[in-house]
């Protein structure tokens, strides 16, 4: 089943929840079955209190930061004018 929203447990230290919404990844079917106001509330949560994300990477910020750093390194290494990959 395709996941529609990924749950970021590590960002929910207070155990907050939306009524009737399980604290785990939500499938497409589950997300569509939610009342519109809950779907809007989940997707409209401000960044500091957001718990559900559309991408798995966004739901795991520690990993996504590491991956983002890796991406930067790859870009540095890949620059054609900087074959040694040295920061300028």
């Amino acid at each position: 089943m395709k996941i529609a929203r990924y749950y970021a447990e590590q960002k929910n230290a207070d155990g907050a929840h939306y009524p009737g919404v399980p604290q785990r990844d939500l499938t497409e079917e589950e997300f569509k079955a939610l009342p519109e106001w809950i779907r809007n509330s989940i997707d409209g949560a401000p960044p500091e209190s957001r718990m559900y994300y559309k991408s798995a990477r966004s739901a795991k910020p520690a990993d996504s930061e590491a991956e983002a750093v890796e991406e930067v390194i790859e870009v540095v290494v890949a620059e054609p004018d900087n074959p040694e990959g040295v920061e300028e």
């Binding site: 929910n12 230290a13 207070d14 155990g15 907050a16 929840h17 939306y18 009524p19 009342p35 519109e36 106001w37 809950i38 809007n40 509330s41 409209g44 949560a45 500091e48 209190s49 718990m51």
Partner: protein, 407 residues
């Protein structure tokens, strides 16, 4: 209409008083409602007919809201911003004394060596000193006290000289935060809020420029309920709206009356003397004094209140004790000015830091009333009306300890 299964109240503090904020930021976890109210004038016309009323005009419109439920340390800071003082940041709390170490034993001591613990911003720490031979050999903390921000000074005294000691505080918490609200006395700075009520599956109602006019708390250790809270106030006339996005629900730990703590002092600092083994119940009633002002606004002006004012009000604490001795009665009889701290405790956050709600109030024990309680001696009840105290420069201080990083 279907059952309103998810009827709830929520609120968002307004950064500018009276300017609507959407969407709400805090669900209050309380049963409540906003009721539209209309002030109607019907003149006493004489038309020579038996109709008792000939015409009417709506002269004012507003909403009244009320809510009740469990006292919730995660939501109280928002409500106290509207009822007591604008405080939007919790801070690391002061701590108890963990231990006291003798740094020099001194000499010439033959009797009791006492330890006086002063300063450090806290209160209530006590300790005993062990003498070995003619020197102090150890200091044992009996009561760690509360709210020390720096290590207090320990002074060892006796019939010898030279004994010294230093105190160490409990490690600062990493999660616990304390929010202190000193009831405002001289400025119109209480926050207003945009209130939301209803079932987002059915219908929501929104009232801006909302304020709190009263809060009360009830805790009965002889019962089985948790600490209850009721709040009331008013808003501008509520509009029915499409469901806004709502924040996620989070519940604070239940505050249980049997975990209450009480300190009563007269000559010592507030919080120094714990009262144990007799407190049955406690009630706090906190009027805010916020009152709406209705002013003339011309032919196109609205019918809602235009400004908010502040009236003089007095918070009250009501205490019920089992009458195990004459202590509280004698304080009443003597008319002693008291400094009283009541704390409603919940679950531990970390180490020695607990979720709690606390009030400091200053006044005499008044309005004695004898009562009865099954399984106890006679009970005695008092009311304390909060007096202005120059220490905090207020008549009421409230503190909330929780683990919330933000309001």
């Amino acid at each position: 209409m279907a059952e309103l299964a998810f009827e709830s109240m929520s609120v968002a503090l307004e950064s500018t008083r009276g300017t609507l904020v959407t969407p709400p930021t805090h669900i209050l976890n309380m049963k409540g409602m906003i009721t539209p109210m209309e002030d109607v004038f019907d003149p006493d016309d004489q038309l020579g007919v038996l109709a008792g009323q000939t015409r009417e005009e709506i002269v004012g419109k507003h909403g009244e809201w009320e809510a009740e439920g469990s006292a919730d340390v995660t939501k109280l800071p928002v409500l106290f911003n509207m009822a007591l003082a604008p405080v939007t940041t919790g801070v690391v709390p002061g701590r108890p004394v963990l231990s006291i170490a003798v740094t020099a034993g001194g000499s010439g001591y033959s009797g009791t060596i006492t330890a006086a613990i002063t300063g450090g911003g806290g209160v209530g720490a006590t300790a005993t000193v062990t003498r070995t031979g003619d020197a102090a050999s150890a200091v044992t903390v009996v009561n760690g006290g509360q709210y020390y921000t720096t290590a207090p000074t320990v002074t060892l005294s006796g019939d010898g000289t030279g004994a010294t000691a230093t105190a160490t505080l409990v490690t600062a918490p990493s999660t616990a935060k304390i929010w202190e609200f000193v009831r405002v006395m001289t400025a119109q700075t209480l926050k207003t809020g945009t209130f939301y009520w209803g079932d987002p599956n059915q219908k929501m109602y929104q009232g801006a420029y909302g304020f709190v006019d009263n809060m009360s708390f009830d805790a009965d250790a002889s019962g089985t309920d948790d600490v209850k809270m009721s709040v009331s106030g008013a808003t501008q006339y509520p509009d029915d709206i499409a469901s806004p996005t709502l924040p996620a629900l989070s519940l604070g730990p239940l505050l249980m009356p049997r975990r209450m703590q009480l300190w009563m002092d007269s000559s010592l600092a507030i919080g120094a003397t714990a009262i144990t083994g007799r407190l049955v119940s406690a009630n706090m009633d906190i009027p805010t004094g916020v009152t709406p002002k209705n002013l003339a606004t011309g032919p196109t002006g609205g019918l809602g209140y235009d400004h908010l004012g502040m009236a003089k009000v007095t918070p009250e604490m009501h205490l019920v004790f089992e009458m195990v001795d004459q202590t509280q009665y004698l304080l009443f009889k003597a008319g002693t000015d008291m400094k009283i701290r009541i704390r409603f405790n919940g679950a531990v956050i970390e180490g020695v830091f607990y979720n709690y709600l606390e009030f400091d109030i200053y006044g005499k024990l008044r309005d004695l009333s004898w009562g009865e309680m099954e399984g106890t001696n006679r009970t005695v009840e008092f009311t304390v009306r909060g007096n202005y105290n120059a220490g905090p420069a207020s008549d009421l201080v409230a503190r909330v300890m929780n683990s919330s990083a933000t309001l």
